[in-house]
Amino acid sequence: MTTSPTDQHAADPDERRSGTSTVRYVAGKVGGALVSLVFVVALGFFLFRMIPGDPLATMTRERPTGPEQLAHLRERLGLDQPVWQQFLDYVGGLLQGDFGTSYLYRRPVGDMIAERVWPTLLLVGTATALAVLLGLWLGVRAAWRRGGLFDRTQTGIALALWSMPQFWLGLLLLIATQGVFPSRGMTSVDQPDGFVMQALDVGWHLTLPCLTLLLVIYAQYMLVMRSSLLEEMGADYLRTARAKGLRDDLVRRRHAVPNALLPTMTLIFLQFGMVVSGTVTVEAVFSWPGLGLLTYESLRGPDLPVLQGVFVILAGSVIVMNLIADLLYRVVDPRVRAS
């Protein structure tokens, strides 16, 4: 609604406006994330109640248990209460940071998750960082020479890897490397001394699971980067940049890629949460002591408190990552700040 005579003195209200609207934007996004979190907690609780299998039967499989003892155990675990009462107790516990107690290990679920979360973060963080770097680099190159040999072969390879089941690719890599890399665990049985040596030992163990995950997930970063760069390639401002006399690679680096990165960035953050939840198979194949392996072990019970805890943590991480992506997008794209 600006007409040219009023343009000059528009600066002050503009700045005030951007201040208040930032607060409103952040508050709106955080509020939305909290609502999602509430849904996740409810969903997690009721979803796992539908898994077939009686936890009590699993717990007492080894030793004969009389009905009296069973009733006692049921009462101790709170399973004799109506479902809605169990849910309220569960939510009440969550609010105090209590995730409940594992049926199988008789330990606080919070402690178990805290132990397992770091290995998963290490695995997923490393794999994602590498996959993003590799995917973006390949995507930019493929798009810039669209339809060329590089584009066709790399797109084909990426798609083929993406469509492979993780456990199968992991087993293939294990066979192919013929025992060069350790096949299970995160540390050697006889751990070496000194921080550096221990770190190297972990890295050694990390190689195969990380490579498996990397190969499966890099394709999506590549393909999204490729298509969003292709969309920018016809843009008029690139012609302006060329007309200014910029070298081709500068046109790409300074003008095309920053614009094409915007949609890709959202995906990276959104995908990080998804990759965390997708590590179950890789961790199971390589016995990597993370959340995925914990889930895999708990499903046999079913160890409901552990499953619920892991579910809340994984789903929560997706929500938090999405929130970070939204907030970061606003920092990076000046147009989002305006609207």
Partner: protein, 545 residues
């Protein structure tokens, strides 16, 4: 003396999926320093291809024949390094559509500074000073260097493009449609700026546009392009006063001069309209607004009055032109009249009764009052055939009768004849003018009594403009249709409207018969609008045919 720019027998051919396309053929042009050369032509005439060939910016699919000499040096024979050095420092371009030609995520100061960093060895402080100086030269405050493109208005972005083009003091500037999509007052400012820069710095300017009247105001020589060739070239005044080629004549007629009796009620059309007969001025009022106000609240909570107390009548058998700058509230007013926007206060009446607010009542109302949008390419669903597009309205309103007959009749009324030939076509198989006719047919299919048209010809080529305006005028005469045409183009009002309403900052500042308002304006704003129209200068002996 060597010419600044010389095109010798330039030809450009694009390789496409359907064979070769000769975009430019045998073009010869020269430009001396300090001279302004205008190139006029419609979309597809090859004018933008000529621009791109000067700096060798053509896509890979293009083959160039002939020579382009920049200051005597053959651009086609330059090595890459030499070409990159010549780009922007010797010749720069003010690209069409400034909103897309600027990088959306970079501050404009950085974009203006970029060629300076590239081509000069200036220090950062020198570059900062130069950017400030350039912004001041185009009448923008230096603080705007920190703005992003989306924070600027269309006119401001265009100025940024000009500042950027001047950054390295080039001797040649090519301006590709620098004022299209700007409204008249901003256009006048930009033209004035370009003219001043040419005069002060002795640069050569190539000015490309489809609007001959703009060239008349700025150029010494004009070349007219049509289908890739130059069909006419000569002194600006000669080309405009006595166009020889029929295409030039069509272009000249498409932008009538306000006040020229020959173009009153006579848009440039292939079927001349009969003389305007006697008309009954006391036709019943069909659509009226009383004390209409539409207020919006922006994010800071400040109330903005987009429409601020408007009274307007549209009678049967009458075309009213609603003119004003962008941002004056024209579109909001039209949306409110159509019931697409709820008014804050005031009333809209149709046929003497208030317009209903219920959704079923509004649906009935919209049958009688139909909308024609600016850009037919986006108004039509690209996957719907012409038949589907036109039949959609009657289906929604469950009109009785044979659907096929209705569609054919509507297409015939919109002068798409024979209608049968168009029924199965998709929008991309039609020309811009034909698409706009399909949109109009879609409106006519409901047998409305009022057409509201928002810039109906703004996105069409000059030669099609007259045909669509002629159609609107014939529809009024044959069907007694009332029309409310929203436009920033005073020539359009002169061509077809009976009355004109001038809108400024949400209010109608002047309403009256076209001859009275446009020839003897009362309000200062109307005078400013008329004064901003490009004119060829003091000796005004044009259009004497």
């Amino acid at each position: 003396m060597t010419s600044l720019l010389e095109l010798q027998d330039l030809g450009v051919t694009y390789r496409t999926g359907e064979g070769d396309l000769e975009a430019v053929r045998g073009v010869d042009l020269t430009l001396q320093p300090g001279e302004t050369l205008g190139i006029a032509g419609e979309s597809g005439s090859g004018k933008s291809t000529v621009v791109a060939s000067v700096l060798r910016l053509l896509p890979k699919s293009a083959t160039v024949t002939g020579r382009v000499l920049l200051d005597g040096e053959d651009v086609g024979a330059m090595r890459w390094g030499r070409l990159r050095a010549a780009r922007w420092s010797e010749a720069s371009v003010v690209f069409q559509g400034a909103m897309h030609a600027l990088n959306p995520v970079q501050r404009i100061g950085r974009q203006i500074a970029e060629p300076l960093r590239l081509h000069t060895g200036a220090s950062e402080t020198e570059i900062d000073a130069r950017v400030r100086e350039l912004l001041e030269q185009v009448d923008l405050p230096a603080a705007k260097a920190r703005a992003y493109p989306h924070e600027l208005s269309g006119g401001q972005k265009q100025r940024v493009m000009i500042a950027m083009a001047l950054a390295c003091d080039p001797r040649l500037v090519i301006a590709d449609e620098p004022t299209t999509a700007l409204d008249v007052i901003v256009q006048a400012q930009v033209l004035d700026l370009l003219g001043r820069l040419v005069a002060e710095r002795g640069i050569g300017l190539v000015f490309i546009t489809h609007d001959l009247s703009v060239l008349a105001a700025t150029c010494s020589r004009i070349a007219v392009m049509y289908q890739g060739r130059i069909v006419e070239t000569g002194d600006a005044k000669d080309v405009i006063t006595a166009p020889r080629h029929e295409h030039t004549q069509a272009l000249a007629a498409a932008f009538p001069e306000v006040g020229d009796p020959a173009s009153r009620y006579a848009p440039a059309t292939s079927e001349p309209l009969p003389q305007e007969g006697e008309r009954d001025p006391q036709q019943p009022v069909l659509l009226s607004a009383r004390e209409l106000r539409v207020h919006f609240r922006d994010r800071t909570g400040t109330t903005v009055a987009a429409v601020d107390g408007v009274d307007l009548d549209v009678r049967r058998d009458e075309i009213v032109a609603l003119v004003g700058q962008s941002g004056s509230g024209k579109t909001t007013l039209a949306r409110t009249l159509l019931g697409l926007q709820r008014p804050t206060s005031g009333e809209v009446h149709y046929d003497g009764r208030p317009v209903p607010t219920s959704s079923s009542g509004l649906r009935d109302y919209r049958r009688h009052v139909q909308l024609v949008l600016q850009d037919p390419s986006s108004a039509l669903n690209p996957r719907h055939t012409v038949y589907e597009s036109v039949a959609e309205g009657p289906r929604i309103h469950r009109l009785g009768g044979d659907e096929h007959d209705l569609v054919v009749a509507a297409l015939e009324a919109a002068e798409l004849r024979p209608a049968a030939q168009y029924l199965t076509r998709l929008p991309h198989e039609l020309s811009g003018g034909q698409r706009q006719r399909v949109v109009i047919a879609g409106a006519l299919a409901l047998n409305p009594s009022v057409l509201v048209a928002d810039e109906p010809v703004a996105s069409l080529d000059a030669s099609v403009r007259g045909e669509i305006l002629g159609l609107l005028l014939r529809l009024r005469r044959q069907l007694g249709l009332a029309g409310l045409v929203i436009t920033h183009d005073l020539g359009l009002a002169w061509n077809i409207a009976d009355r004109v309403a001038v809108m400024y900052r949400g209010e109608l500042v002047e309403v009256g018969p076209v001859d009275q308002v446009l020839l003897e304006p009362n309000h200062e704003y109307t005078k400013a609008l008329l004064a901003a129209l490009p004119s060829p200068g003091p000796d005004d002996a044009r259009y004497t045919g």
